[in-house]
Symmetry: C2
Subunit: 374 residues, 2 copies
Amino acid sequence: MTSDTRGAAGLSSSTAVATSSRSAALTSLLGIRLPLIQAPLAGVQGSRLAIEVSRAGGLGSLPAALLNAETLRSELTALRDMGLPYQVNFFAHTPPAPDDARETRWRERLAPYYAEFGIDPATIQPGAVRQPFTEAIADLVEPFRPPVVSFHFGLPSPALVERVKRWGAVVLSSATTVDEARWLEAHGVDAVIAQGWEAGGHRGHFLSHDLTLQPGTMALLPQVVDAVKVPVIAAGGIVNAAGIRAALALGAHAVQLGTAFLMCDEATTSQAHRQVLRQPDRHHTTLTNLMTGRPARGIVNRLMREVGALNDVAPEFPNASTALGPLRAKAEAAGSGDFSPLWSGQNFAGLREIGAAALVAELAWAFDRADGAE
Amino acid sequence: MTSDTRGAAGLSSSTAVATSSRSAALTSLLGIRLPLIQAPLAGVQGSRLAIEVSRAGGLGSLPAALLNAETLRSELTALRDMGLPYQVNFFAHTPPAPDDARETRWRERLAPYYAEFGIDPATIQPGAVRQPFTEAIADLVEPFRPPVVSFHFGLPSPALVERVKRWGAVVLSSATTVDEARWLEAHGVDAVIAQGWEAGGHRGHFLSHDLTLQPGTMALLPQVVDAVKVPVIAAGGIVNAAGIRAALALGAHAVQLGTAFLMCDEATTSQAHRQVLRQPDRHHTTLTNLMTGRPARGIVNRLMREVGALNDVAPEFPNASTALGPLRAKAEAAGSGDFSPLWSGQNFAGLREIGAAALVAELAWAFDRADGAE
């Protein structure tokens, strides 16, 4: 960044110094060469993608919420054995009390689809697919000493956060508003992920469920940078070098890309999902609570069109997904994403179908001469 | 922009050339020194603000939709006499058929407020406050030969567009989706304004009323730049030099700022509106159709909270505003914006309370060394 002092309207020289030192602090803290984080993409990737990203100089991430104990252990083993920094990501929600009436209502709404696909809903066991971070999971994770632990939907209990920090782990979490960024800083995160409206997958909101509170990245990011003293990681709508440079211009100290990795060779993105991502002109994204019970951004599919993307008929997070499981499986087996969470950010044109390491190498040059990253 | 050719992931050298030539083409077309447009802000500014912006090297704009013939003529006279480029902006909607039932329902919903303020609703004459661009208005405007004419909500009839172009005017309009950008290019606009989710005031959508189709600026802008051959003006969430540099990094050929000018000395923004804008931490924006009948982004106020910001009880655009008029007047007289359209983009922290020319001068340095603007 220039030391030019004319910039009273947005970039003063004091801002420049602060930005620069927070950027350096963040890459040093994360132990990475490039201030580029691969967003944890629950359901469409494991350690294989993360390892490629970390080897290329970024921060690879393992989404843990959908993994059982055995898989989590083997994935963490693979990541530890790599010998490079990585991130493991957990949800920090409070599981809801069982609500039979709501589960019944949901299954009634899905009844025509069960009939269409010849599914007997009585065979579907209720229960949560996604687990929050708990003491038991901390017991499992602790021996691996993951260098970076991130949370979505706020943070777990202060005791659990303290425990993770005692391991020496860097702690991250997402903010969808300035208020959430301030809250996370006050509760001990080492850096805040500013998640803008454009971002795919679950919104990380936790202080309010009002969806209108989350601004677009262009508005949220600079306000978060101004509001907190910890480094800020930009997320939402960033898919290429141009987006990275834009985020850095807005004061980001690092960037987090998710959608950009969905088409990578190492991602386990389904064929149905990939097929839709290849047709940006024919599809658009919106927030839906149907897939899990919490609003998340995905490409509009048949279920969302017919039920309404945001509808209280879906049980609370994470229980909505259970009743959808067999529908999703049947549809995907036929190459259709009609009942699947087709997570994607709003910017999914021109996704690269290449190896993750090659993608990171291509993105790397955005940091060479960008304002704010020096 | 660098001639570096490593940037397959977003900024190739061929993109660089195209960007550069479209930028130069646009400033040349508009006759301005800085690729910076002051967004037309209907209801909160007239020629005085526009003249200051044009004198400082940007493109000042006059919003015409709320002006009667006499005022429009005197404002255009002031702008013409300035001897510099300016823009005059019109709405391109089709006025709805009268709908007494809906008007009645709206007044019934507002009845408790009329009672609270001692207003007799029988005294309120129905009718539209905002006029679309018509042959009659074209007759009035033609003698002034405005150098730039822009439209919101699409374009007027092909015959009217053709007429405006015969004057030698540059024609602009706003796109909220890639589809709308392509449509506008096919229908003869000289440049497209890519209006992202963050933008304040009326969304410019015209091909669909589905609000989820409009992406954030970070996602919309680069997709529009790729989709059309005409120059692209970025709008939505840009309030300072950092935002301008981000937009240029995303491929914008010029930027349009609205909210940034709301607190300028020359704006006629009400005291109630200014007071709310000074407290970004206490307020947020959302889309509402209550104020006019079409979704527009404004700061949440009492009417929006109590009626619901998006509610079909409000008559079609532009008729919703009529029944609100006396409520708004009474509330504003008491220093309150409870019933006023408090238009603002999502990024309204740190607005500058200075003269518009000084603001433009401060913003100008963003173009000095920015990627994409060279």
